[in-house]
Amino acid sequence: MTQSSSARIVAVPGRVRVFSVVDDARPEPEVVGEHTDWGAASEAELSMGFARGDEACLQEVFRRLAPLIYTIAYRALDSSSDGEEITQDVFVSAWRARDNYQVEKGSLSGWLIGITRHRIADRQRARGRDLRLVQAVTNTSDVQVQPETLSTLIDRIVLTEEIGRLPHPRGSILQLAFWEGRSYPQIAEQLDLPLGTVKSHARRALRHLRTQLTEVTSWPT
């Protein structure tokens, strides 16, 4: 089996490219004018355009990150309407508060995820009040199963995105190991790579994930 066909097995189509601060080796743009093609911009470029108040840049940031923000909110609140509302709210709030965003302090995606975390927590607290009200009215006191914490959920979604974005063969190796439960010798055989190489890629991929996760979740909240 060839490498490319193996990669296709685990490739997930339609994945958006989200975090690119660390990976991007592209130089900073010398001049960013009104007609910059934001579709091809790195996140660092987008972050600066956003901070400067370029509305075309906001649209591109939205295009790239709205699916992630929506998915976090939708999964945390189990409601598509809450997911839509929070996504809208996050981008509107972020745009209005863009003066507070400092490029040097961290990634734009991390900043937006921080805002998302706050909005979801607010909504969850409000729901807690609703739930207590319902319980008071109906005189029930069912113990609620403690849901997955918001932080864990966000980490899982971010990690899934990152794993999906890892370049070949690193991405294929981690996807086969993590998502399909293959052993490293099996992966080495399937991808026709030496076992040592597979392990080395997995090791570096894990350390990369560690860095990226810190990057997007370390904003002070």
Binding site: E84, Q88, T152, G164, L174, R203, L206
Partner: protein, 246 residues
């Protein structure tokens, strides 16, 4: 001994390392830094095995983006840029958080922006007709929101002195949804649910007695599309809207 190397920690978390030596175990037992790093790497491996995919195709980005634009535009649009009119348009509502019972409407600013731009046709019609003992004190046309279809009217009535709202809409609901009629305050903070709209699109609702003499700002007639989820809050999806004259 020295700290465990990053590679050694990563290998251990991934389960691809040779077993830890006695010296390494001893170090881990005494070194909080290495323990913490190994713990975080192991947590990432654990979480990485429970993927949670983002599926952009399932995200209604177009609708959300449209709402964002309207919301941002509603602040940027100054009344001076619109045609001068005898009556000032209602002020755009604040974006303060609404209580849960009255969640902020996603498309709320569509109304505000439309009002500012003078796009709401039919508001301001004030007719007084007497049919039997029912008096129509004011009315508005109900216009579809972007992406929706349907037209209708809402009339404020007095039936033997009691305030009522009569609603007529020409479009049917979607098969797996029902519709609900609301009176929303122009402050963007409060709303009253008046009741379920039958599938034929015609109904008359009594208003809360406090609104008998004046609408107190509850001038916006909204017809929402509601899923059968048992959630009493507004779904944030509206079919038609209109504004009754203040």
């Amino acid at each position: 001994m020295a700290h465990l190397s990053p590679d050694r920690l990563a290998d251990s978390a991934l389960g691809i390392a040779d077993p830890l030596t006695a010296a390494e175990k001893n170090h881990l037992a005494s070194c909080a830094e290495c323990r913490s790093e190994l713990g975080e790497l192991s947590r990432i491996v654990d979480l990485g095995r429970q993927p949670e995919h983002v599926t952009p195709q399932r995200v209604p980005t177009d609708a959300i983006w449209q709402s964002i634009q309207v919301q941002l535009a509603s602040q940027a649009t100054a009344p001076a840029t619109t045609e001068p009119s005898a009556e000032p348009p209602p002020a755009p509502p604040t974006i303060a958080e609404l209580p849960r019972r009255t969640p902020r409407l996603r498309s709320w600013f569509l109304v505000a922006a439309a009002a500012v731009l003078g796009l709401i046709i039919g508001a301001g019609i004030t007719t007084v007709a007497v049919r039997d003992r029912v008096e129509v004190t004011s009315s508005t046309s109900l216009e579809p929101l972007p992406g929706q279809t349907g037209q209708g009217t809402a009339e404020l009535l007095r039936d033997r002195g009691r305030p009522e709202l009569r609603v007529q809409i020409d479009a049917p609901p979607r098969p797996d949804r029902y519709r609900e009629v609301w009176l929303i305050n122009t402050d963007g903070q409060r709303m009253y649910p008046l009741g379920v709209l039958p599938d034929d699109g015609r109904a008359t609702y009594p208003l809360p007695p406090a609104l008998a003499s004046q609408l107190e700002g509850f001038n916006i007639v909204d017809v929402s599309i509601e899923p059968y989820d048992g959630d009493p809050a507004h779904s944030r999806e509206s079919q038609v809207r209109g504004v009754l004259p203040a």
